[in-house]
C-alpha cells in the first residue's frame, strides 16, 4: 500500500474516532431541552467531506454511529435507526449543497443545511414509525431553530480546524479515487 493512501486511511480512522469521542462527550453534557443536541461529532464528518469527499465522509458517519451504538449498547435500537439514516442523509445533502453552492456557499452554510437535514430526517422518521400523528410537528420549530445555530457553530469549527491543518502543513494523504 502506498504511503499517501496509508496516511489517508489513518486520517479517516482518526476522524471517525474524533467524531466518536465528541459524540460520547456530548452525551455527558446536561441539556436543558432534550431535543437540542449540538452535534459536535459532525465537525469530523464535515472535515472528511471537505478534505476528501462524500464517500469518505459517509464512512466516517457510519463508523461513528455504529461504534457509538456498540459502546452505548443501543445497537439496532430505535436511537440507532434514527441516527444512522439521519447521518447518511445529512452527508448526502451536504455533498449536494456543496457542489451546487460552489464557491458562494461556505462550509458554515453547508453545515447549517446539514444540521437542518439531520433533524428533519429524524423528525420525519419518528413521524413515520413511532408517532403516527401530526402532533409531532409541534416539535418542528423546536428542532429547526437550534439546528440553524448549532450547524453554524459546527461549520465554523470545522472551517477553523481545516485552516489550522493547512497552516500546520498537515499531510492528509492522497485521494486516489478522485472522488467528488
Amino acid at each position: 500500500m502506498s504511503r499517501p493512501l496509508t496516511t489517508k486511511l489513518t486520517r479517516l480512522a482518526l476522524l471517525a474516532t474524533a467524531g466518536l469521542a465528541l459524540f460520547l462527550f456530548e452525551s455527558l453534557i446536561p441539556r436543558p431541552l432534550p431535543w437540542i443536541k449540538p452535534g459536535l461529532s459532525q465537525i469530523a464528518t464535515l472535515i472528511a467531506l471537505y478534505v476528501y469527499g462524500w464517500r469518505e465522509s459517509l464512512a466516517v458517519v457510519v463508523l461513528r454511529v455504529g461504534l457509538a451504538a456498540l459502546l452505548t449498547g443501543s445497537f439496532a435500537g430505535p436511537g440507532f435507526w434514527l441516527a444512522l439514516p439521519a447521518g447518511v442523509t445529512a452527508v448526502l445533502v451536504m455533498a449536494a449543497a456543496r457542489s451546487a453552492g460552489g464557491r458562494s456557499l461556505s462550509i458554515a452554510g453547508v453545515s447549517m443545511i446539514g444540521a437542518l437535514t439531520h433533524n428533519l430526517t429524524q423528525l420525519a422518521l419518528v413521524r413515520l414509525f413511532y408517532v403516527r400523528s401530526s402532533e409531532i410537528w409541534t416539535l418542528l420549530p423546536l428542532v429547526w431553530l437550534p439546528a440553524l445555530f448549532t450547524g453554524l457553530a459546527v461549520g465554523l469549527a470545522a472551517r477553523l480546524l481545516i485552516d489550522f491543518s493547512r497552516r500546520m502543513s498537515l499531510d492528509w494523504g492522497t485521494n486516489p479515487d478522485g472522488v467528488e
Binding site: 432534550p34 461556505s106 452554510g109 402532533e135 420549530p141 440553524l148 472551517r159 491543518s165 502543513s169 492528509w172
Partner: protein
C-alpha cells in the same frame, strides 16, 4: 513529495471570509422560516381537556386532565409511569436510557406532546395544532 497532496480539494483558502453572502442569506432565510414555524406550530394557549397515552403504537388510555391519576404504561423496555395532576400530564419515570420524556416536563396545552421513542410511549394532548395561529389572526 508535497505535504498537502491535493490542495485543490483540501480546505477553502484561508483568506476567504468565515461567512459568505450566501451563508448569511441562508441564515436569514432559516431564521424567518423558523419563526414562521414557531408561530404556526407551537402549542397554543388553550388548555387541553383530555390526554391520550399510546403504547407500542396503540391507544393505551384516554384520560381527562382534570382527573388526577397515575398510569403504568408497558413498553418494550419496561414500565413508563405517567402522571396526571393539576391539569397537566408528565412522565415521572421511564426505563429508557436518555430520559428525554422525563425531562420534557409537564404539558398542559392542546398540541402538547411527550415522546419516548425507546419505550414506544407517546403522551399527547389532542387538539387544534396551530393554536398560536389563532393568536396572530385574532
Amino acid at each position: 513529495m508535497p505535504l498537502i497532496s491535493s490542495p485543490e480539494r483540501a480546505a477553502p483558502a484561508v483568506r476567504r471570509p468565515l461567512l459568505t453572502q450566501a451563508d448569511k442569506w441562508l441564515l436569514g432565510l432559516g431564521l424567518i422560516i423558523g419563526l414562521l414555524l414557531s408561530a404556526l406550530l407551537l402549542p397554543g394557549r388553550e388548555r387541553g381537556r383530555e390526554v391520550l397515552i399510546e403504547a407500542r403504537g396503540r391507544l393505551f388510555v384516554r384520560a381527562y386532565l382534570d382527573t388526577p391519576a397515575r398510569y403504568e404504561v408497558p413498553g418494550p423496555l419496561g414500565t413508563t409511569v405517567v402522571e396526571v395532576r393539576e391539569g397537566a400530564v408528565r412522565v415521572i419515570s421511564s426505563p429508557c436510557p436518555e430520559k428525554h420524556c422525563v425531562r420534557s416536563g409537564a404539558v398542559r396545552r392542546q398540541g402538547g406532546l411527550i415522546v419516548c421513542v425507546p419505550n414506544r410511549v407517546i403522551v399527547r394532548i389532542p387538539g387544534h395544532i396551530g393554536g398560536s395561529l389563532d393568536m396572530i389572526t385574532e
